[in-house]
């Protein structure tokens, strides 16, 4: 699965989302529940704004010195016997990983949840090699068993499914014969997956934060699946987006704290694992061979430009959990594995405007995303920046809109034109006006009046009232 999901046009995706009642209920419930948890977890600190500022300064510093820290990281991974591969494109990353699979003659691969491997369609590549690829995060596992249904949320990938749907999928695909109780479903997945960990040839993970100074990297989960993926198979491959690193343990700690509170409202998740290199000589568990793939895949084009701050992202999904647009359309509507506000900023940068030109407009610029971002990415400003580029550089705005905006620009800058237009407005709107409202508006007003009333223009403009009143005073 690549970054792009689905092939329907934007409007159709939106329509599907809006009419998926279960998904909408689930998303609204998740937003309300996780919103409260996140708020409590951040407010109890008493100085959350300082935490955000600290997160921001760490991320900005790393991005400004990214070449240095990546060099340091790679040196330290190699010192510990790990192999580092810098991949400029997803093809390079996949080719390298395919090479390892062939060399190891691997048949079975277990994975812990990783957005970046989704981004490069790694599973499809591995399956083409004849490997059995098993996702071990419960949510990802459910989606995989259901014929590779795409994730709809970067933290809770199967959010759009209810437990009855999951039971049906398990019954059909895994011979499951119990109820739709989450405990029983989860237990079944546990039993199925236990054997997979023990017999897998390769474990593949993403990376929450790499630590440049020690060549370490951290994995954050609640299930403990990443620990089994990295403890049992003989070969481990970790794929990281090139920006996901920090200088030392001390910065890692801060970002992990920001992540867990913002993502799931927990002080820390159940398992935070810091791994360095392959296992040591006398260790029993842990991989004998460790590969780190550092991926660019379009990220370097963002670096040094006006969207650089989006690379501060730590993938907590707090912005998704507060977004009023995501709330009603769900993750699949974005047509990208990266959904919500962060997806609407990131997807056009990584996947191009042709594919994702609508996403920056799928926002009211209400700023809820920016307000919660733990590393202070000005998400709504970046959405606005995209719009500017789409209009002014890419010329991708619809002609009718360009004309309307041109007219607006003229009218709003010229008192004479404004006077003419606004004086004429009541007369012009007269045919559409009933009482003090317009129920069936013409042109661009139609989209408005399809769902709501529009006020009729004042017979006496405010400015006329003010002027007459001043005259009366005199």
């Amino acid at each position: 699965m690549a970054m792009k999901i689905g092939s329907e046009p934007f409007k159709e995706r939106i329509d599907n989302g809006i009419h998926d009642d279960f998904m909408r209920g689930a998303v609204a419930g998740a937003q309300d529940g996780m919103g409260v948890k996140r708020r409590l977890a951040t407010e109890e600190l008493g100085n959350w704004e300082d935490w955000r500022s600290h997160g921001e300064e760490i991320r900005q510093h790393v991005l400004e010195h990214l070449d240095y820290y990546l060099e340091q990281l790679s040196e330290n991974v190699a010192k510990r016997g790990g192999h580092v591969f810098f991949a400029e494109t997803k093809e390079e990353a996949n080719d390298y990983i395919r090479g390892i699979v062939q060399q190891k003659n691997a048949k079975k691969i277990v994975k812990s949840k990783s957005m970046v491997t989704e981004e490069i369609s790694l599973n499809a590549v591995l399956e083409q090699e004849g490997c059995e690829v098993i996702e071990t995060d419960l949510g990802e596992y459910i989606l995989q068993v259901d014929d590779h249904d795409p994730p709809s949320h970067i933290v809770v990938p199967a959010l759009h499914k209810n437990k009855d749907q999951i039971r049906d999928v398990f019954t059909k695909k895994l011979g499951y014969n119990k109820t739709s109780k989450p405990e029983e479903l989860a237990w079944h997945a546990r039993e199925m997956l236990r054997q997979e960990y023990l017999t897998a040839d390769i474990g593949i993970t993403g990376c929450n934060f790499a630590v440049a100074e020690t060549g370490s990297f951290s994995l954050v989960t609640n299930e403990g699946n990443a620990d089994l993926v990295t403890a049992l198979p003989k070969t481990q491959i970790t794929v990281m987006g090139m920006e996901r690193l920090v200088p030392t343990f001390e910065e890692m700690e801060v970002l992990v704290s920001l992540l867990t509170r913002s993502a799931v409202g927990q002080k820390l998740t159940s398992y935070i694992t810091v791994l360095t290199g392959p296992k040591e000589e006398l260790d029993v568990d842990g991989p004998e061979e460790f590969h780190l793939v550092i991926l660019d895949n379009g990220r370097s084009n963002i670096l040094g430009g006006e969207f650089q701050s989006v690379l501060q992202c730590i993938r907590c999904a707090a912005c998704i959990n507060v977004c009023p647009v995501y709330r009603h359309v769900g993750g699949h509507s974005y047509g990208s594995i990266y959904s919500g506000p962060i997806g609407a900023v990131l997807s056009p940068l990584l996947g191009g405007y042709d594919e994702y030109k609508e996403l920056p407009y799928a926002s009211t610029l209400c700023g809820a995303c920016t307000e919660v971002c733990p590393v202070k990415i000005p998400l709504h400003n970046l959405l606005h920046k995209h719009r500017e580029i789409i209009v002014e550089k890419e010329g991708k705005a619809p002609i009718s809109e360009k004309l309307a905006m041109k007219a607006f620009g003229l009218g709003a800058a010229s008192p004479i034109l404004y006077k003419l237009g606004s004086k004429l407005a009541p007369t012009a709107m007269n045919p559409f006006t009933v009482g003090d409202r317009i129920s069936k508006g013409p042109g661009p007003l139609k989209s408005w009046t399809d769902i709501r009333e529009f006020p009729a223009p004042n017979k006496e403009r405010f400015r006329d009232w003010f002027k007459n009143r001043e005259k009366g005073d005199k």
Binding site: I18, V325, R327, E388, E401, F408, A456
Partner: protein
Amino acid sequence: MKVTLFATCLVDLFHSNVGKATVELLERLGCKIDFPEAQICCGQPAYNSGYTKGSKEAMRQMINTFQEAEYVVSPSGSCAFMLKEYPHIFKGDPVWESKAKELAEKTYELTQFIVDVLQVEDVGAIFEETVTYHTSCHMTRLLGVKEAPMILLNHVKGLKFTELPGKEQCCGFGGTFSVKMAQISEQMVDEKVCHVEETEADYLIGADAGCLMNIGGRIERKGKPIKVLHIAEVLNSH
């Protein structure tokens, strides 16, 4: 105190009552109101849609219009915030950046002006109704005005306040979003209307004409018996 009113185009064209209430309210609080005729629109509809270059002329028009003003006060958090954005928009412009900054610094949203500058918390209003209040996103998050409207409403005699569930959620207006993404906007405003109904309030109060046009328009279309008022109108009831 001399106050220069930035009425906003929505108020000028569609909601003159809000403008009238703002004038009367401020006069009652001892201000002398000036309304420069050359003001039109802050440029936000075009700017937010990505037409930055196309909206700059409108912004310059506004900057010139308010050059002499001591305080610029607007009954809209969103439009007031737009004026505060001007310095960023004209950043690096040798002529306009400093002028933009001057305007931004003397611009206030109405309730913010009353509480912070006039230092008045009780405007002596009487409004014997049950109301709920919609906190507009731009006013609260971008302009950062959260307390002032609540302080003023709390002092209105007879007013019974019920909190709006999900108040921090956008109503789905978003300027051109409301027509460009009408499908989504409809879902958002519907949820907002449901929440307003849950409060069982007779009046929905807000401080931004855009949001009120959106929510009010949907309330009217659905035939709900809820009346919509701008906070200036409530504060001017006595």
